[in-house]
Symmetry: D2
Subunit: 115 residues, 4 copies
């Protein structure tokens, strides 16, 4: 049984019980997602990459909450658009494997140095 | 078996095969997530809420790809921070249920009108 | 005399007096800008377009602070990259005038309906 | 005479000539701003801070265009909300000077290490 579908159903019930679907248009959910992602980005903005690899417990807890919020709005938006997230990710991995063959990109990391 | 953990393992292997972990610091992954979410927001920016509820097939496909990209970077970032996304979401739902009791928020939708 | 250059100089002095230039790499300033813009987006996320056109005084004050923060980081980032913002905007307006001729786009608003 | 007010007037005329004010609700402009800022963040996402301090000419040109787009939507949004950007920034600088006294923050850079 799918855990993302379980969460989707729980979040669906949560919104229904509060009459929140009226606010949850895809346009609004996409904005809410952008707001939550920025809250996730915030604790990292002045850290060095190195520091970001070894957060304190307090920092890690705060970031965990934001990760959850992003996942929640992502599930809600996908639900409203009738998109199966797991299937969408699988399709994307297949595509990326073709686009970035390991043999070519391993040596050069071109995707990144090209930017 | 957990589908998010499956995807996490696949994405872990994908990055390892290409030597991309050097770029995937939490700081960078949080930025990448912000970039992908904005690509998801982009097709909605000039739509009315109503239009966003009934996307064309072409629009829906484009949005599906962006949803997948957001989910991918979210899984990668959670992995690098050793966070179990499903567990984090469950904890958040419990907290939100206490913060926004259905009996109070159903009638007023105060969370939203307060903004 | 240019007011944006005045502000740039003031903000430059402000950072120098606090030894903050070490944190203000273009990479970090671009992240900070994304964080501030999301704080600006936040009060609008659940409003209808109509509501967003008639904010309360309290909402308008909060938004004014966020507009200022975005402008501040934008000036800082442009300064670090040696970009003249006014000149860059003027060049962009010329380009946009060619890309979206008024005669064609007036009738159809195609730029927006195409999305 | 104020250069930001000049640009505001030009952008106002630009939108009016194309009948675009119908799309430029504050809610939509705030989203557009978020989208543009992410395009500005994109070229920096995988760079080290060091690399971001020394962009190639090609990278710098691309970033200049995005800086301009952000400034344009910021001017438009401030205009729609009747906010004087220069005045708002000045007020913010005064506030920040009180919040972060140079004598205290110079030695410790606490604002940043606290995050």
């Amino acid at each position: 049984m799918s855990e993302l579908k379980d969460l989707r159903d729980e979040l669906r019930a949560f919104a229904a019980e509060r009459d929140w679907d009226q606010f949850h248009s895809p346009k609004n959910l996409a904005s809410a997602l952008a707001v939550e992602v920025a809250e996730l980005l915030e604790p990292f903005q002045w850290l060095t990459e190195e520091q970001s690899r070894s957060l304190s417990d307090k920092q890690r807890c705060a970031v965990t909450d934001e990760l959850a919020d992003v996942q929640i709005y992502l599930i809600r938006l996908a639900d409203k658009l009738n998109v199966d997230l797991v299937q969408a990710v699988r399709a994307r991995i297949v595509l990326n494997a073709e686009k970035y063959p390991a043999t070519i990109f391993k040596s050069s990391a071109r995707k990144y140095s090209d930017t």
